[in-house]
Symmetry: D2
């Protein structure tokens, strides 16, 4: 099923950019978990004003409504938890030309071939970035379950328009470190890097162009021994799910591609005893050996390509007439979606980690009292 | 299931490094397909001599035996096709210390936690690189089905020990281009780059160390419209399966991580009409928009970390006594597994592409007569 | 996932008896299919009056709203199709004693153990028969796709309170035969049998008791060759899904349990040539050999146990105090749910058959123009 | 995948009647479990002599070889456990006419349509009853894990050729009761019923005909709370898997079809306190409410149709020439497969119960020391 992932904790996303509603169904979470509905919203529409494109203000209309899955006490009851977000603007307009003139970098053309021209082209339909909102809601529910067990997930903009942020310390990143970027206006560790990034975003906007970035996400508190060999390891599950976020074109764990430039003697993480526990002195593995967590911080980075919707005229084809044509994408588009993708990456990682813990439940820690 | 992947074409790998046999079961392929058993073997053991560590000589004992799945005419009969490779050296030895002294960079420690100390430690058990042999056999069967329909897959060492090979032309790579590296002693496009790579491998061996690399794989002939949005797209399936190859720490498509440094106006692939067909003028998307093939060459790169088994003394812990200790990994180990991983990447890509085509069968082309 | 079934056409049900809404997400149907929303409603609540317990009047509030999955032309767009039905009475009441006093024959006790007491007990929660409404909606969408391809599904009350209806002719049942029972006030072939059944239902109601029944469902127009051997055959998929309807305790195909009393010479269905096509002279197999359709009518029967909620005092336990107690189930309860389960069986069969056809798409016939 | 079942404990069967080998891969069992390979064999071929068709002598050549999945201590190591049985007679003969003359009651015709004539017709290919041997082996491994935790499974011939055996007491069946039938020459509770059954089998053989039967299987020791609502309940999983045994045409739980003839006041199982524990006074539910175990004995019955291969001439079609023809099935065929299906039913139930326990692992009891 194209729009679902997860083995035990299964997340199924539904909706199109301009359908009556978008939503998500999350099945398989533990029962008896409180759900704080406040943090489930996640900004999905382009920013209302061009002034703070990186800001992520809560917008009331994007708060998901919980349709089911809670007991009368408001805790999870074991049944699927479904949430929906009503779309307020459901009248398609200005999209007729997208049916015949596919936008470069978008799924307009491939969806048209895949579905014989029957896809919903308005606002990207089911391929819209708006579908990340239900993902955030699902992730929010899962992250609360994890947090209650001492597992924290955080992400930041590791790189944007060729500007590098600092990185999480892969060995000793703390809960505070993980939470800090998300609490800022712009989700970076180093504010000076953030300032430069915003300058480049502004410059791209001024030129009707766009920029991309890299998001780094880390999780701490994961017990060792979660995951499985070969195809159901943490890396496999995380990668499969993370490539479901629109615009992701690369995923790497720990040192990732840089590991391929290292010697084994540099890349191998020595095992050490710390406070009676087995730890690693370095963390090039990103907390995963053979698909299974080793107890070190889990570190993953995802590459976000630049926004495909840009104002500059682009070459495309007129599918109806079979000839070359030019396309100018109308409407206000965000010159960089990477900042808004930061909480989406956290959400997806949260869903996958809870799924991995629930699929191997001896490893699910007790809730901290 | 940790050792299976695929929705319609399902590949299930079994075996341990020193078990009686290793093997694979492939279910869901089309019926009526001839199987040439010759090319199914793939070298899995370290090279017998140190002289040509990059060479991939066929070794008779690694040729898989087909147990079932063919009809009396030798064509696929629709039932699962199972293959096995007998292990000739099944007496474990010298591995007792691995139970207590986990090798840095290996799954010894995580498997021990995951399986409560009951894992098979001999030769890495189920985590051994030897398990790539059945993967190659499964891939061989799938690649033959694809080839019969004009779909070709090829890979090469894109980078090794910081030496770059040339790259496949992402727009116009030909079947000959794809086949060329695999036909050489060392799977590169540019032989001078290959010479440098081998020098660095030799140097690492001389220093009891190891190096890593990047493998680039491309596929041509894929029709447009194969795949699905969100979590069952080609990128999701390929990434999930490719991270199942031991030592893979990163996966990227098209321009991948480099795309995050581009402007949208640079990254977007303009649609053009060529010979009456829709094509892209560039191919930064690696042939995939929104998880669905666009008809351009599919391009994926995977990062292979340096071999974890190195001869230099390493820090580890004595799990039995809970103290710090030193480990010297004995035995002859390959200072770089990336060359031998090249056909494994091709195999996995072949399995996934056939699965995607079979899962959306209107897109499976007729066999060329 | 407990509340989903289907491989290619995947049906995911969500909701509880008294949650804000119940609903269903159907993924994987073909694109470009018109959806007539009229017939998607299906009565789910107990009948408003006791006068016609077998009648199935449409109630406006049970008409599902389509949230997404259609393109601007109202045809399926390839994305998941989600539907919801708002619950109007979401204030739980009178159910507190169900948390401590499990109703015999219900899932109150097992859900309490399974979910550690966190289940939603109001109205049966996720175990409520009300959840068959979204199943009907999902089935309605699938049945329309099938009908457009000449595949018809129909069901009737084969037996109720020990009264037998006539049976569908397993060899020559027609589309008219299949449609007839559902068009009546009471879904039987033989109206005199129906009259007797209703008498027994009335008698059970008068005694605050309940009765059960058997539903027979048949499908015609299925091409031969759909299904698979062993565990993914039509029988496997149908049985797995049909046992998801509350109160189903048995499933049989063709002659079913009666086949076990036959000689092979009686049970084997001889192959014959009719009008140039391969047919069977009899149909004890119910249209399925080795899990694969043989082109004959598909025939399945499901046993529905008597309604568990009865007015007579029953023995149960007080879970809070760990002592024996007596329970009187309050509220108006339907003395027989079998009549209302008839369209649910049709719906589930419709979903499974479309899934089987889509999972082996060469067998999906073209839509009739 | 047609030949696999199970979510966490996944059983994948491979092989054809006359392929080099048949086998099974079992993934997801707990690690550290001893495997007694003795009881894994299960007779699969027709009995060597006609004298004791009901006997199940161990035949050396059918003992499965364990290929992998054990650690050097012989305990499960967490990796897939694969077993194979070599076929000694792999030269197909006398089967050419089956390609053109499908046997009534067999999958010859449907497989031919499904696989475009490429199926392996020799001995039924992948549809052969011989494939139940690997199922028995897989079940044997799972049953040992269950037994170690106090969960026992046993089956008997509940009915054969219209002769009824006694039934397991659904409320108080003991481990001894469950084990008794399997320890006899003929798997019944009541030996006089067994004598009559054998007479009818002999009579059918004498008339070149066959008879069918019903197998009843029960499990005790299952904790309450195992399973899930709707489509992943115990009934759903058991039914899906049991219909994978060749010749099964019906599955019912507890009172099953007979429940549909009861009043609710008769069918509902009252909850009672016994020895401080919640139990049921009766067990019409077969130990399952709402898909979840209630702690009572689990009771399931499966209908086995009469052997399709009979010596009397039968009508069939000549697919090559498209005309009516007559078929005489050659070779010695068992006039009743039901007795030999008894351990197969136990095996499948064992696999499913372990899977259900492992998929909800808090419910997997500790191994008894």
């Amino acid at each position: 099923m194209a729009s679902s992932f997860g083995q035990t904790v299964r997340v199924s996303v539904f909706g199109q950019s301009h359908s009556a509603a978008i939503g998500v169904c999350v099945d398989g979470r533990p029962a008896g978990e409180a759900v704080d509905q406040g943090p489930l919203a996640c900004v999905i529409a382009p920013p209302p004003t061009g002034g703070r494109p990186w800001a992520t203000p809560r917008r009331e209309q994007d708060a998901p409504e919980v349709l089911c899955g809670l007991n009368p006490q408001g805790r999870t009851c074991g049944a699927p938890l479904a949430m929906e977000i009503r779309n307020t603007n459901t009248r398609p307009q200005d999209y007729d030309n997208l049916r015949t003139h596919p936008r470069p970098g978008h799924a307009d053309y491939t969806a048209s071939v895949r579905y014989g021209g029957e896809q919903d082209p308005t606002g990207g339909g089911h391929f819209s970035g708006r579908l990340t909102a239900p993902l955030c809601a699902a992730g929010g529910v899962c992250l609360q379950v994890l947090e209650r067990r001492g597992i924290r997930v955080g992400a930041h903009l590791s790189r944007l328009a060729q500007v590098d942020d600092a990185r999480f310390d892969p060995v000793s990143v703390s809960a505070e470190d993980l939470a800090a970027p998300g609490a800022k206006d712009f989700p970076v560790i180093d504010d000076e890097a953030g300032r430069l990034m915003r300058e480049r975003i502004d410059r791209a906007r001024g030129e009707a162009d766009s920029v991309g970035g890299v998001i780094e996400c880390a999780a701490i508190g994961m017990p060792a021994g979660v995951g499985a060999p070969m195809f159901d390891g943490l890396e496999n599950w995380l990668a499969r799910a993370l490539f479901g976020i629109p615009a992701v074109k690369g995923v790497e764990f720990g040192a990732g591609f840089a590991a391929s430039d290292l010697r084994g003697s540099q890349d191998n993480d020595p095992f050490v005893i710390e406070g009676g526990a087995v730890r690693c002195a370095t963390n090039n593995a990103g907390g995963i050996n053979g698909g299974i967590s080793n107890g070190m911080p889990l570190v993953v980075r995802v590459a976000i390509k630049p926004t495909s919707s840009i104002g500059v005229p682009q070459r495309t084809v007129d599918l109806a007439r079979g000839v070359q044509d030019e396309l100018v994408v109308r409407g206000r588009h965000d010159p960089c979606i990477a900042p808004r993708a930061v909480p989406v990456v956290e959400a997806v990682v949260g869903c996958v980690l809870l799924d991995a813990l629930m699929s191997n439940p001896a490893t699910l820690p007790e809730a901290l009292s």
